[in-house]
Symmetry: C2
Subunit: 191 residues, 2 copies
């Protein structure tokens, strides 16, 4: 299979649709619609690094608990449990983005970066969006003063047992990556 | 914060952009652009169940290995390591979708469904897409005969150590959910 063309079909500020032409396994020309935050999707630019965003898996060293946040997500029309996360700003390293987003969203202080994944893909059937999963240790007291106008964030500390309870609840909304880490944390008692 | 309006700004078959009006934390009217597979996004319909898709975490009982697939993803313009996955067809249960997609994409036979997550969200900053993570045991021999024209799928079996090697490689593309399961599998020797 091979990508042949990309046509931008919207002109929005933060997210656009592209119609991608490709050759399928029967050598027929086909079309696939994708969403991208970039002016050209990664399948056209060939640039797969750095990631678009960081997703932070924070472990609070003093409390010995996993840190998650509960925040209003416009696409879901309600509150979602997830990890602190955000786009990497132009000129910023992923480590800088981790420190900044952790502070802005939770008020907590970065201590140590334990592990950083290569760019991995959020939902490659519909978008070229990539993130790095960054496991960190942190300390401090939660504070929402640096939240933006589009943010309303509550910081929550969870034990493995509490993570397990969140994973089976059908009354709440949970981010997929956060669910997977909480599920492993509840079973293995470690991130 | 509160959702006030949704305006569909494209007319594509499989994926569309919507401009969502919402009231931010300062009581100002704001806009957020989202992508959705549905004719109305979940923040307008209020319907959050069933999930749009299933993502299958298959453990091969006889080989005692985790099953992953390598497939061409149009939005990434190349091969990605991921889990068998697919949209739940109309009228189909998630269990039926799991059995069908596992067979179509890998040729393997479902033995037991071990765990099913509630609908969880792929990337709630940009889309309302939800999936259920479904952990299963399977058996059988890989076969790509039921792949669709847009699919070119190779089935791979990995040990915890092999999963760990894939997790640190910068030469390949890996789906985020698959990376998280492989990372935990490499460290805890279990899914």
């Amino acid at each position: 299979m091979k990508i042949t063309t990309a046509r931008k079909i919207t002109d929005s500020l933060h997210l656009n649709l592209f119609e991608i032409g490709y050759t399928n396994t029967r050598d027929e020309e086909s079309l696939w619609t994708i969403a991208s935050r970039a002016s050209q999707p990664k399948c056209m630019t060939g640039r797969y690094d750095p990631p678009d965003a960081v997703v932070i898996v924070p472990f609070h060293k003093k409390l010995e608990k996993l840190v998650i946040i509960k925040e209003f997500r416009v696409p879901l029309g309600g509150l979602q449990y997830g990890f602190p996360a955000g786009l990497v700003d132009p000129g910023e390293t992923t480590d800088q983005a981790v420190k900044r987003e952790l502070k802005e969203e939770t008020g907590l202080d970065l201590l140590t970066i334990l592990k950083t994944s290569p760019p991995v893909y959020s939902s490659s059937g519909m978008t070229d969006e990539s993130v790095s999963m960054v496991y960190v240790e942190c300390n401090g007291t939660p504070c929402a003063d640096a939240n933006e106008a589009s943010e309303l964030i509550e910081t929550i500390f969870v034990t493995p047992d509490e993570a397990g309870i969140l994973c089976v609840s059908t009354e709440i909304k949970v981010d997929a990556k956060t669910w997977l880490v909480m599920n492993a944390f509840s079973e293995n008692k470690t991130i």
